[in-house]
């Protein structure tokens, strides 16, 4: 049985949980999620419009549209990337984004 703190490949810290019999049931790797939250398409984004106008005034006439959002990083433990994705999606739905007005996407990579 691996001990908490063992390293899988020298890079990802691993923690191990046993069941009552002491068997290993999961090894949890550490992940970093980068979450991008922005207003849903169709919801007026006055902040984005103000930035767009500012860019145009600076001479960036090619700018067509700007939407301003929020960037959140989350470090978490999960046995595999699928679990991490599922957990982060739930976090977005519950707190990181307000699904009434915002949508989100995220990238997950080993931390």
């Amino acid at each position: 049985m691996r001990r908490i703190g063992d390293l899988q490949d020298g890079r990802y810290p691993i923690s191990t949980y046993g069941n009552d019999e002491g068997d290993v049931v999961s090894e949890t790797a550490r992940w970093r999620a980068e979450v991008f939250v922005s207003l849903r398409p169709g919801v007026n984004d006055p902040q984005g419009l103000a930035v767009r106008d500012g860019l145009r005034r600076l001479g960036y006439e090619e700018v067509e549209d700007v939407r301003v959002g929020r960037y959140v990083q989350v470090w978490l433990r999960a046995p595999d990337v699928e679990t991490a994705e599922r957990r982060v999606a739930a976090m977005c739905e519950q707190l990181l984004a307000n699904p009434v007005v915002e949508h989100y996407r995220f990238i997950i990579e080993p931390a």
């Binding site: 207003l39 919801v43 902040q47 103000a50 929020r70 707190l95 990181l96 307000n98 009434v100």
Partner: protein, 238 residues
Amino acid sequence: MRFGIVTFPGSNGDHDALMAVRLGLGQPAELVWHTETDLSNYDCIVIPGGFSYGDYLRAGAIARFAPVMQAVAREAEAGKPVLGICNGFQILTEAHLLPGALLRNASLEFVCDWVWVRVEQTRTPWTSQLAPGTLLRLPIAHGEGRYYVDEKTLAELERAGQIVFRYVDAKGNATPEANPNGSVANIAGVCNVRGNVVGLMPHPERAFDRLIGGDDGLQILASVLAVGLEVVRGRGGH
């Protein structure tokens, strides 16, 4: 009638609400700290304005997880009158006790002003004593007050009678000019389906006496007393 007024770290309208209830209505009121888990002692609950938890993430997003919010949800479920003012309105939408969301003002500016609102719905305990169409002059002070729902939800709110207040001009017309923040359909306040939970961006508690610029807000706070009277009459057997 006992008013419970919830204080979160960052609330700043709690003492205004306390004064409005005590001095304006002559009713007992207490501040309730956000860690409280039992609100059964109070006959109605006010979630006041301010910047709970510094408006981190989104206005109202963190306050929703305060222990007291479970008690608020429980009392709301039981039918007790709940009023969310400004940040309190934002918290109630984040807690899904009210529909919609409040976004950054369309102007991107914090607005601090007096506005007219029209009473659209009188089936709520907070408007029951007002005639439909009553115009009230109330102060506003917010940076994120742009009420938003999608078109489908807006139609549902209209149908279910959940739009309680609209921004209007002094003649009572809901014009774009009278809309201080870009809210959908000039909406200033809504209620839940049942009607006992109401949220609005304007501050009725800051308009309880002519000495402070107006007393129209008192009509909203006083409406809820009718609920108390019903309870008393019920106890008396009449």
